[in-house]
Subunit: 134 residues, 4 copies
Amino acid sequence: MGNEPLLRFRLDRHSGLPVYRQLVDQVRQALRLGILHPGDQLPSVRDVVEQVAINPNTVHRAYRELEHQGLVEGQAGRGTFVRRSLPGLTKQHDALQRRLTAWLASAHAAGLDDEAIEAMVARAKESAEREERS
Amino acid sequence: MGNEPLLRFRLDRHSGLPVYRQLVDQVRQALRLGILHPGDQLPSVRDVVEQVAINPNTVHRAYRELEHQGLVEGQAGRGTFVRRSLPGLTKQHDALQRRLTAWLASAHAAGLDDEAIEAMVARAKESAEREERS
Amino acid sequence: MGNEPLLRFRLDRHSGLPVYRQLVDQVRQALRLGILHPGDQLPSVRDVVEQVAINPNTVHRAYRELEHQGLVEGQAGRGTFVRRSLPGLTKQHDALQRRLTAWLASAHAAGLDDEAIEAMVARAKESAEREERS
Amino acid sequence: MGNEPLLRFRLDRHSGLPVYRQLVDQVRQALRLGILHPGDQLPSVRDVVEQVAINPNTVHRAYRELEHQGLVEGQAGRGTFVRRSLPGLTKQHDALQRRLTAWLASAHAAGLDDEAIEAMVARAKESAEREERS
DNA sequence: GTGGTCTAGACCACA
DNA sequence: GTGGTCTAGACCACC
């Protein structure tokens, strides 16, 4: 039976973020989004290696980092398993998600590229911080 | 005249992004947002070093990269100046910016932290990509 | 000036303990014994490599582990530095140390080898635990 | 007959020592302490598996190692039996054992935790070695 | 099969 | 010079 993995990793080689860090972030995100739950098994190191064509050590590095964060536990000979979750996004946040997705569509429609969108997000965050301090 | 610099750099030591890359990104963003225009002077290497406590070489490296991208020009003994701008955010985009800022405020109000917001943005982008492919 | 390192590592290849773990333990012990203090620099990765003839990655692994434990901080281009110490052995414990050293001498005098001494220590610990539970 | 096993294994998952090695060490220690004698039967693989929740292969591996050391002999279908003992701790060493146990109690009373005690033991051993060399 | 450790060596970012 | 990331590949412990 082709056990489909719960999680598929995607690497962005140009992001400047270390690969192991991208893996860590994606697992954390999956925990947040409720894609992974305590007890679930992460894709095996060898699976990930096949998926994204990186070195086993790099995957291992990422999984070790997650283990340090207490999110995951590697069990020799069995696999790597989720230990705890992260404060997640529940149904209450669906409306927010929809609004954001709609916003993104508008932004694309207005001809904005990825970097421009990044710039907007950054600017919005700065505004928010200024609000907070005041 | 107490020349206030047009641009203030902000480093995030935990982002995983190389420092020089954060500098480059922030200059590009400033060009997009219309904070910097052709002819404007970038903060001097010494200014930056004072601001963010990094090594001058790292600043040089970032400015060199921007020069390589044709965005900026170093003039020996005078400083580094903007040569051209980037497809920017015009007034037509103000509405978008406002909507996004409002969205962020709602998200914060809903108790979402930075990582959760990141997760939502990532998810929205994925939705957008799926749309595109279909 | 031949800056003498504060710490010299010693490996036991037959102990069964992973090398990186031996390094971690020795740094922790040095913190406990007051050999290392906050602000002190650990021997550079390359120094350790020369000292004990292991791979840089292994040293790096150990230092990263210590960093995760919050004991140490790696600063790119500068070195690795102690951040905080561990509840240490003060002068109040000198008497205990002397008694133990004397005991060890007696044990050796009685012809006990290392494994026998280990066995005694293990047995003493078990006695102590039994006491505790009762 | 409810044969109580002479030996109960205890695993420390965080010690860094391989499990099979912990088993081997504990058998050797039992031989030294006179808990096991030639002719005695080791706990069956199944017993051990129940006790400490590990894979039978790992127990086999440990027993094989002990057999290789000539300490133990596996008899197909019957069990694994002690062949010879190790230079042990006789009554002459009881005094030493008592002194050590007393020392440990003092150390605990002084508020030292396990790692601190380890540090003291390590330090005492170093002192002993220095003595020897001189 | 799984994860874990170690080696060898390249290249990058930073001071 | 420093630490940090990644690759390639061997071998071990465990299920």
